[in-house]
């Protein structure tokens, strides 16, 4: 019994070790060399631990951003409140999330083998974020659920989602790519479908966005670090200038945080710190997902030969590069509108997270273009900002408030926002 207890606490209870064990097993099964096995396992574990460190940096910057924009809108300043936070959440529930990812994937493979839905979800980083955010919702709604109940619930939900999401988007995907070889496996599926629908109803397919001549010089949009830094930089700057001009006590309090440093310079540094924190988290995710996905792929190709891989959303971009830009423009303009509307109506400070707005807006743009040309692409982008802005508000305020609202503010996205209330309802009924 002691041995079982020891394994339960030290392997299953320590997420980094559990992940290392899974990756180690995966690398051995792939018959990798000893040096590949050692370096792969080490990278996966380090990557997982890096996520927590980067998450802390992001929270610090958000703790400046939120009160600043509350002051801009003249709202009552309140801190983000009491919550577990990504770093502690990973430590406590990371094992359940890791196992749910693994078992959820195996359910996906099994369903692909047994049903006519032959899609294998291979977008590892989105698997991680979806599992994490859904776990955050369950724990917020149902409290401290027992380990295996949480794993079982998440695995089934995720297994079903990863199988049927690619199936739902495939009809338009076929039109986008012109073949049936690859599928979309990404949390932008809901906004992509909305974009496709809006394009169909309101767009004009004849007016294809690829007939447009988009000026060159948008290459920097492909670099997520740059886009995050610039956009958050501008928002922090505008916020800082407005706060500096306001003489209110709240504004004074904020400015004091900068100490002897100029408040505007301080704010710009905060915005770049925010971008830096995201870069750190993404590096951590890259390190461990990079070891996990090849193993997943190996399992899938053995069990379900000939299944379609469901892949990350940029697979659609080469098929309509102009629609990518139009979708992003629609999403960006929409995000600024919703930032002001949400601040003034429901007193929520929307964090217009550029990674989500870019990748989701672009995918919705490509889908909107496929059914409704230029207008479809722009509408798809705008619909994305609507889902992301209102979804973030509902999730942060009601569905994930006590667990990981810090993560929900920048990493949660369209499908998670659409499915969040369903997860919450199921968790309420079942636990």
């Amino acid at each position: 019994m002691d041995v079982i207890f020891w394994i339960a606490t030290n392997v299953f209870g320590t997420p980094a070790i559990l992940l290392g064990a899974i990756v180690l097993l995966g690398l051995i099964l792939q018959k990798k060399t000893v040096s590949q096995i050692v370096s792969g396992t080490a990278k996966a574990v380090i990557g997982f631990l890096i996520i927590g460190a980067g998450a802390g940096v992001i929270v610090n910057a958000l703790n400046v951003f939120e009160p600043m924009w509350k002051e801009v809108f003249g709202l009552e300043a309140e801190s983000l409140g009491q919550f577990i936070g990504q770093e502690s959440f990973n430590a406590k529930y990371g094992s359940a999330v890791t196992l749910a990812m693994l078992i959820g994937f195996l359910i996906n493979v099994l369903l692909a083998r047994l049903t006519k839905f032959k899609y294998i979800y291979l977008t590892g980083h989105m698997m991680f974020w979806t599992s994490t955010v859904f776990a955050g919702v369950v724990i917020h709604v149902a409290g401290d659920v027992s380990f295996w109940k949480l794993v079982l619930f998440l695995s089934i939900v995720l297994g079903l989602y990863w199988t049927f999401q690619p199936a739902l988007t495939q009809p338009i995907m076929r039109r986008v790519t012109g073949n049936d070889h690859i599928a979309l496996g990404h949390t932008s599926a809901s906004v992509a479908l909305i974009g496709g629908l809006l394009g169909k109803v309101l767009g004009n397919r004849e007016n294809d966005s690829e007939k447009l001549r988009v000026p060159k010089g948008f290459e920097f949009l492909r670099d997520s670090n740059v886009v995050t830094a610039i956009s958050m930089g501008v928002l922090f700057l505008v916020g800082a200038i407005v706060v500096s001009l306001k003489g209110t006590p709240g504004a004074q309090q904020l400015i004091e945080k900068a100490g002897s440093q100029n408040f505007i310079i301080y704010s710009i540094v905060q915005s770049l710190t925010f971008a830096g924190g995201i870069a750190v988290v993404l590096m951590g995710v890259r390190m461990f997902i990079g070891e996990l996905v090849p193993a997943f792929n190996g399992i899938a190709t053995k069990i379900v030969p000939g299944a379609r891989p469901a892949l990350d959303c940029p697979v659609t971009y080469p098929f309509a590069p102009n629609a990518v830009i139009l979708g992003f423009i629609g999403a960006f303009v929409g995000a600024l509108i919703w930032l002001v509307v949400l601040g003034n109506t429901v007193a929520y400070i929307f964090v217009p997270t550029m990674i989500v707005l870019f990748f989701h807006g672009a995918t919705a743009g490509v889908f909107g273009n496929a059914t409704g040309g230029t207008r479809g692409a722009l509408l798809g982008g705008f619909a994305t900002s609507t889902v992301v802005a209102w979804g973030q508000f509902v999730m942060v305020k009601f569905l994930i408030t006590s667990t990981i609202p810090d993560t929900a503010m920048w990493a949660a996205d369209s499908d998670m926002f659409i499915l969040g209330p369903v997860i919450a309802l199921l968790a309420k009924i079942l636990f």
Binding site: L122, T123, G124, H125, M126, H181, I182, H186, E219, F220, R222, D223, S224, N225, V226, A279, L282, M283, V285, R286, I289, G290, V293, P294, N297, P309, L311, D312, C313, P314, V315, P318, I355, F359
Partner: protein, 88 residues
């Protein structure tokens, strides 16, 4: 020899490319260490070859590595053909 597969975010797409490049190298008998990353990190990462799309290759001008432009990250035929140009 080190090959670096690059996409904008360095998360999903470059990883898929990496898996396909690893597969192609295996079939062609090329022995290489293949890694994947985002475009910002790539500019400071030493490598012998960088495999990426046309737009990102422009952002990586000045990198000492040889650029191999891949139009379709999922086309094993294209990846193999381009690798053959450099290793035959």
């Amino acid at each position: 020899m080190k090959m670096l597969c690059v996409c904008g975010l360095g998360q999903g797409t470059s990883l898929i490319l990496r898996m396909n490049v690893e597969q192609a190298c295996k079939e062609l008998g090329i022995s290489a260490e293949v890694d994947h990353t985002d475009v910002s990190s790539a500019s400071g990462t030493p490598a012998d070859y960088i495999l990426t799309g046309n737009e990102l290759a422009q952002s990586l001008q000045g990198h000492p590595a040889k650029m191999i432009i891949i139009d379709n990250y999922f086309d094993m035929g294209e990846i193999k053909a381009k690798l053959k140009q450099y290793f035959s």
